[in-house]
Amino acid sequence: MKPTLHIIGKDFRDLRLLLPLAGWWTVSVLQPLLISVSPRLPSSPPAFEMMLGVFVAGLAWLLAALDLGLLVLIVSQLVQRDSTVGTTAFWLSRPISGARLLAGKSLFLLLAVILPTVALQFLMLLFNGVTLYDAVRSAPQIVVLQVLVLSVLMMLACLTPNLSRMLFLGVIAAVGLAIVQYALRLSLLRNGWDRSLEDSAVIGFSLLLLAVAVAVFCHQYLTRRTKRNMIAASSIFPGLILFMTLWPWDFWSTEFPVARDILDPEQVTARVEVDSLEFHRWTNPKGEVWLTLRGDLAVDSSPAGVVAIPAGISAKQFLSSGQVLARDQRRWGHLYSDWSPRYRSYFGEYLDGEQAESLARSLGGVRFLNRDASAWQRPWALFAIRREHYDAQAGARTIYEARVEFEVYRNRIDTMRPAPGVGYDRGSDHDRILAVTGLFYRPSIQGFNIQFSESDHRLTLDAGKRVHYLLVHPSRGEALLGIRNFFFPFTLASPHPWSGITSMLRVTRPSMEFPLSEGSPVLPEIWLEGAKLARVETTHLGVFSKTIRIEDFVLERIPVSDKSLE
């Protein structure tokens, strides 16, 4: 241990290492400071808010870039001052083993980088109202992320003699791997590969990358066989990319089956509303005419408080003899069907029409004054066939059968008075209203704008939650759907989104607009006094699938419309 500490002591005296380290410590303090202070600033006029948003977002990116840049410099100085490449390093002729040197360098990074990061992030989480329990749960993720970044940098640094070569190798490796991955995905997609296990794959890839990086730099320190390690690394990484692309284990699945105590698929029925069926004729860019069968799907007997929304369908048309005439498969790209805990969209999230309808029922049957502020998929596209197929089978008595996949959600609704200072606090989640103003596109009020300060804590596996806001006027039976304004808010997260890992803490200063639809009657200013702000937190509970069947499915009996919805 003593020689290792001696090596660390030497590194802690090296000014060329201490200067970037001091810079990095400063940046590491500024980042949580920015996250903690900026969302709490008092509300200001829109022009200033816009400038503040641009400034804060820009500063956050600058600090994140500086963070990485300084880490590159620190690792380069630390590793390459006692280089494992070449034959001229001072330590090579001294009684210092490669293992001892590696231990010294690793301990230096632990003391100078990893521990301060954990301490600062921990304090930041607590300062932002994250519970102690959640903050402790976050610690492994903070450590793994930091170790991952440092390991990759260590690997690049120990295979190169100086900073410029290290950067060159890093850029070449990144570009090379991106090209390999792009080419691989393109080739797989052309061959009908259709899997979306990206979240599991990215986590799996990150952990494998960490293991490979650690193996490479340990081997380099112990053997100093640079060429061999370089060849090993460059042959392993394309393999990693291949592994990531073909990743088989969807451990972080968004498509996990719904628990039976929440919804038992055997107890619910799904059906297609036959009267709603209609063919829509359309022409694709190649000039081929297609007909898409659209119609409404319904789920009966689903438990109270649970919402089931169709997410995908796999359908076929066949004769009673069993001969299949046509098949079709599709997923509906509404907000929740492509749920990804990693890539949460912070801006402009439109509520699904089906969700909005369900909420309207939950809120006592309110009427939305801005129904167009939600995204509608209905009537669902159930089947698509070519014109030639339609003509050939128009009068045939066939059977339509489809396996429909449903996503299951639960909404938690909390209401509060829409007034500055009022807030919502539950566990590690905290929302506060900063300002409430009217939307004045014309001299009269066209809706409302509410500015919030939000902070929420999420770890990877429980990130499947989304929050929407509604303004509800119970006595008038009216409600307004909120839309996040694209221009005003800024969102800061820790770790930074480009770290590729789900943020533990997300703070934002959203500006929610509750606009009236075009042509709606103007609202009186007093409307807001009787209104409540509903905070709707939607939790994804899993998926289930049901089979629907239409016997006696005769194409020519279904009306055809030229109104294209494609």
Binding site: K2, P3, H6, K10, R13, D14, L15, R16, T87, T88, A89, F90, L92, S93, R94, P95, I96, S97, R100, R225
Partner: protein, 301 residues
């Protein structure tokens, strides 16, 4: 002979270039071994293989009785290595360098360290990066000799040093090695640098060993000869293999006899040169021997 360094058919290839080829060498304990050869002969490559800085393509080497591929901290604590190519911790002052090196060596001798500082006139509180080339070499020597290593390896240590500093250093090294019974391997392309130092000489050229033997034996068997032939006499068609760089000017023939035997005197020369009128035989300096060998092997083509 107890060899402290031993190589057996040591070979190193860089791509298509054969840097060292089948080199078998022994450096006796307590000797000052001058490892000579022109630039690019393979001296540094051999030393780097000895120090386990590069791996041999084939063959093996042992240092202090340990396979060079297994040299660890215990062996390195007994070896002092100074090379013109070695990076110094230049951001340190001499005092910081001493403080860094001292705990690594259980044999660190503070008195010797102080003596070397005095002898080399090294300022303790100046950063090494501000030093001249000569001062940097001195700092490197200080950090490599203060722990009284059993084996000192010097790879072109005098490059960039002026003659005065070089002499001063050689004097110091001779004094120290004499007192401490160190083994010293000093690689150089310039015989002048090591002539006074060496008691063994090894010559390498194009990666191959040309000779390796004690200086005394070398100087005993090499003689500068000048023979004057009787008028009208011609040189024989073939001259003995042991005669190097033979030149004729009129009736005078000059050559280097490389197998001279003191006990046999000049008998062998006289028998090889019929019609010999006069013969002058002179002992040679190490430098003269090295130059004769160099010309023979066309070292400086």
């Amino acid at each position: 002979m107890n060899a402290i360094i031993e190589t057996h058919e040591l070979t190193r290839r860089f791509g298509k270039t054969m840097a060292v080829h089948n080199l078998s060498l022994q450096v006796p304990e307590g000797s000052v071994f001058a490892f000579l050869g022109p630039n690019g002969a393979g001296k540094t490559t051999v030393i780097k293989m000895l120090m386990n800085m590069i791996r041999p393509t084939s063959g093996s080497a042992r240092m202090l009785g340990t396979d060079s591929l297994r040299l660890g901290p215990a062996e390195l604590a007994r070896i002092g290595y100074v090379s013109e190519n070695q990076q110094m911790l230049e951001w340190m002052t001499v005092q910081q360098l001493i403080d860094f090196c001292r705990p690594m060596y259980s044999t660190w001798d503070p008195d010797l360290c102080r003596q070397l500082i005095r002898q080399f006139e090294l300022p303790l509180n100046r950063k090494i990066k501000t030093f001249s080339r000569g001062m940097k070499v001195k700092a490197s020597l200080l950090s490599s000799l203060s722990y009284r290593p059993e084996l000192v390896i010097l790879d072109e240590p005098f490059t960039g040093l002026d003659a005065l500093v070089r002499d001063e250093f050689i004097r110091g090294l001779l004094e120290l090695s004499g007192r401490s019974q160190w083994t010293i391997l000093v690689a150089s392309h310039d015989i002048d640098e090591v002539e006074r130092l060496a008691d063994w000489v090894g010559v390498i050229d194009k990666g191959e060993k040309r000779l390796a033997e004690p200086t005394a034996s070398l100087q005993a068997r090499f003689r500068q000869c000048e023979a004057t032939l009787e008028p009208g006499r011609e040189l024989p068609e073939t001259l003995p293999d042991s005669w190097l760089v033979a030149e004729r000017a009129g009736q005078v023939v000059r050559f280097v006899e490389s197998r001279y035997r003191e006990d046999a005197g000049d008998q062998s020369i006289r028998s090889a040169l019929p019609g010999l009128k006069d013969l002058a035989v002179r002992p040679m300096s190490l430098k003269a021997i090295f130059l004769a060998l160099a010309r023979t092997y066309r070292l400086y083509e």
